[in-house]
């Protein structure tokens, strides 16, 4: 067979250069496409999160319609607003499994404690691993712009004597009516969001609640001091990692699971200052802000850059402040 005949039958393939060029073009196209897809996906997640808050806001209004007041921020045995809202979120079967005379961690409430409610989960929070027997939550009710966790004490000598009472719509045994909100329901936050923690005090995560105790200089007298401490705190110091069970279980009415404060700016480090002073706040995985459901049932996206006075005004139900943003 002559050399020319062989050449005539051979199939011409791609050269290495051609292949590399094609691969490079595909890589560039993928590089352009992936961020765009991620952006669209996050926009969809943010909308889904906003819808969850809308559902919970409507459930609050339905609860108010049937009971004549909003649910209490937490019951005497620390059961959450979320537990009280279940019948208004089409979760009656879980609601029936809750014994409201028993604490969140009692054996009687084990089934409800582990029941996943999709409406309580923000799709942008991709931390989905939860300790066994618990179910997660990203949404919290607003206790106000103060830092007192309980009610004002009456016993002389209590370190929290003289601290102002919670001024938000949800606190211990609260039963606020919409007409009690003299700031107006459209100027008062009902719910916002927070990322779940890492459930391990041996790991530093900014989404955890930092435990500061009565260490010198780290016991705030008011919300301004709480903001200063939160801003200067070293989040990597494991000595401050005291509450990593953040965002679960939803049945627990607690400052790191179902309640937040408007004392410090959104995305500040959430802190607890025992005895009795707390400044957990709102944060999210959404770019640049958090979703907030107002007491009128609407949902707004509040930017991270919101001014502290406006954020605090949004937290109080009857503070008389004017919100200009």
């Amino acid at each position: 067979m002559s050399r020319n005949m062989v050449r005539g039958y051979s199939r011409r393939g791609f050269t290495l250069i051609e292949l590399l060029v094609v691969i490079a073009i595909i890589a560039i196209l993928v590089g352009l496409l992936v961020p765009a897809v991620q952006k669209v996906r996050e926009a969809a997640n943010r909308m889904s999160c906003s819808n969850n808050l809308k559902q919970m806001g409507l459930a609050l209004h339905n609860f108010h319609g049937s009971q004549g007041c909003l649910p209490s921020g937490r019951t005497a045995v620390s059961l959450s607003v979320h537990a009280q809202l279940l019948p208004h979120l089409e979760q009656d079967n879980i609601f029936k499994q809750i014994d409201f005379t028993q604490a969140w961690n009692s054996a009687a409430n084990a089934n409800a404690r582990a029941a996943v409610v999709k409406t309580f989960l923000c799709p942008s929070d991709n931390f989905n691993a939860i300790p066994a027997g618990w179910a997660g939550n990203n949404y919290r009710v607003n206790q106000g712009s103060g830092i007192l966790w309980g009610l004002p004490p009456s016993a002389a000598g209590d370190p929290n004597m003289g601290m102002p009472a919670p001024n938000g719509p949800f606190f211990l045994n609260s039963k606020m009516r919409l007409t009690d909100m003299t700031d107006g329901t459209s100027n008062t936050a009902a719910l916002s969001e927070h990322r779940k923690g890492d459930f391990n005090n041996g790991i530093s995560s900014v989404s955890d609640t930092f435990y500061l105790g009565q260490v010198k200089g780290l016991y705030p007298a008011n919300a301004d001091e709480a903001q200063t401490i939160a801003d200067s705190l070293d989040a990597n110091n494991l000595l401050y990692q005291g509450m990593s069970d953040v965002g679960a279980p939803w049945i627990y009415g607690y400052h790191s699971t179902t309640v937040y404060f408007h004392a410090t700016r959104p995305f500040s480090k959430s802190c607890m200052y025992p005895p009795g002073r707390i400044a957990t706040t709102a944060d999210s995985n959404h770019s640049g802000g958090v979703n907030v459901a107002l007491c009128d049932g609407s949902v707004r996206f509040v930017p991270q850059s919101v001014s502290l006075p406006a954020w605090r005004a949004l937290g109080s139900a009857s503070g008389g402040e004017v919100i200009n943003e």
């Binding site: 939860i130 459930f199 105790g213 009565q214 260490v215 401050y240 990692q241 005291g242 509450m243």
Partner: protein
């Protein structure tokens, strides 16, 4: 035992990549033995007058988070009330403590719960509102 089908595995992987994985269960961040020995190590160190800073810089470092320990209140003695139970990713122990009282006053008794994890770091944390 049936092998998982190739399509099932690929489907699960795609589902995870698409972000529809749902809630999964976390593993414990300790074992009962590790947790108990870490708790004993931390409380013994407190009893022997070790400071919070020194304990956290020891080998291995132990992070004991208790406001009274942080403030240097001396621990005179303690007893473990139970053998611990799993709470979250750690073990929770109820401890009866005897703390030194103020000058001229009797020792103060305290009943508290500590949560212990040992991985990746050893942390002993006072549990709020429990027991």
């Amino acid at each position: 035992m049936n092998k998982p089908s190739r399509f099932g595995v690929v489907g699960l992987l795609l589902c995870q990549l698409a972000g529809c994985g749902g809630q999964s269960v976390m593993e414990l961040a300790t074992t009962p033995d590790e947790a108990k020995s870490t708790l004993v190590q931390a409380l013994d160190a407190w009893k022997n007058g070790t400071s919070q800073k020194d304990l956290s810089e020891g080998k291995p470092p132990v992070f004991l988070q208790d406001p009274l320990f942080a403030r240097g209140v001396p621990l005179q003695g303690y007893t473990m009330e139970n053998e611990g139970k799993v709470v979250g990713t750690g073990m929770s122990y109820i401890i009866n403590q005897k703390l030194k009282g103020d000058a001229g006053k009797e020792a103060k008794a305290r009943r508290v719960a500590y949560r212990v994890v040992t991985r990746p770091n050893r942390a002993v944390t006072l549990e709020e509102g429990i027991p």
